[in-house]
Amino acid sequence: MIQFRNVSKRYGKKTILDNLTLDIKAGEFVILIGPSGCGKTTTLKTINRLIEPDSGEIIIDGKDITKVDPVKLRRTIGYVIQQIGLFPNMTVEQNIAVVPKLLNYSKEEIDAIVHRLLELVNMPYEENAKKYPSELSGGQQQRIGVLRALAASPPIVLMDEPFGALDPVTRDSLQEEVKKIQKKLGKTIVFVTHDMDEAIRLADTIVFMNDGKVLQVASPEEMLQNPADPIIKSFLGKHMNHENNAANLVASDFMRAKVLTVPKTKKTLECIELMSRRDVSSLIVVEEDDTYLGTVSVDKIRAQGKAGKEIKELVTVESMTVTRNSNAQEAFELLIASPTGYVVVLNDDNTVAGLITKTSMAKAMGEALWGEMTQ
């Protein structure tokens, strides 16, 4: 359990941490996130006293950390940095063994630790232990960076944007590994990132910071549902639509609302004229009271229609319809099956609400995935 009590830090006139109070529960994966300069990295570095706050106190498991020798404190807290920071003058094995050696573990113990940890990330000891960091890929290097932090089994591990410099594929697999390791070993991980994807993927609790203050502490789910501040909302961006709406999207979310309807009393030639002007191949036909009747296609009018006749005899009623509150997936399946390439959406009173076409569907899905489209 890590407790921040009214912690403040200033550099000159600039306030980095503003009376920060925060509890981090043991065994949790906690992510500090926020715009650059929000104080997240400073917060992290006060935990292992790389940065000393001006006021307030930080308590780990009931002990005020200013009462602990910083060098001893740091040996009980794992630390992973973005730039990896493996010592280039030491082999993989020596790098992992740094903290155990500082703590005077026996040679056998250290040996066992190195073997076990390398196994944990599927990097066989024989192949990797004697290599220098420069002989490893970036992803492998950061794996070793994580192992080095875990070597002396610290209950708390601090990670400062550890995967920020890795390519997306490597980052994905490392995120997965770290999450697995955290669950397996029951570590408290405090993790700084500016990447919301990463936060949602990894966190048990997300701490959103801005201007040295905590704006919201919540689980990813909770933050997505009720972001406490517009800044958080904008940070969540695409995730809001995606995470929130995908399951409860309804037919009306996918439809084009502006549709052309004609009364059933309209004459055939007028309809053809209308269709060619609007460049469509069919029209929605409604009763006098505006309730839905069916559709009429240009082919049908050409084949069977007589000039000057009303179109009501030519209306096809089998066209696919859904109500505006139908599940989006149902509408989607109908659309795929529809021979006409569209599905008519009806209001509860049977009037026409809109039309789902393949274009409107694609646009709506795009928005759900990537946020509001400009066009």
């Binding site: 940095i81 010592f87 003058n89």
Partner: protein, 199 residues
Amino acid sequence: MADLFFLTIEHMVLVLIAIVISTAFGILLGIISYWTPYLDKIILWTVDSLQTIPSLALLSILMIFFGLGNVTLIVGLILYSLLPIVRNTYIGLTGVSPHLKDAAKGMGMSKLQRMFKVELPLSFPLIFSGIKIATVTALSIAVIGVLIGSGGLGYPIYRGIQTMNFSAIIKGTIPVVIMAVIFDFFMSKIEQKLVARGK
């Protein structure tokens, strides 16, 4: 000829003694400059100005304290060799990537542990190149030692000058040049290896 061989060995030994001591002091001074921000300018300025004193003048001044002989020469060579070693140690230590220093500190290394496990090893290629420069320079400066009564290859050269014996001058000079070239060659090889490993 046997005489010349003996003088060459003597010359080399004098220089090596000076370099060993100078390396120890130089690295120490480099570390102190790196650790104490306000002292660094003073130390670096001091070793800088030592280098600007003409070698003959420096040896003469030292003679007042240490008398005639090899000790004075060794002390002079030490002072001359300090600059490249102190400077390169200082540059090497300050040049260690801040991320590595951050990582070392964050993992719970004390100041001394950081120095000896991380910072010095990583600076060593640069420090070694300072030692190389110091060695090659000292080999040639040591020749002047003859004027304050120390041994080495200065003697045959000085005798050659006094007797206008050109071949004696050459005989004394060639071993100095060969030694300098050999030291430079092998130390450069080592230096390259160090740099490659540090990458």
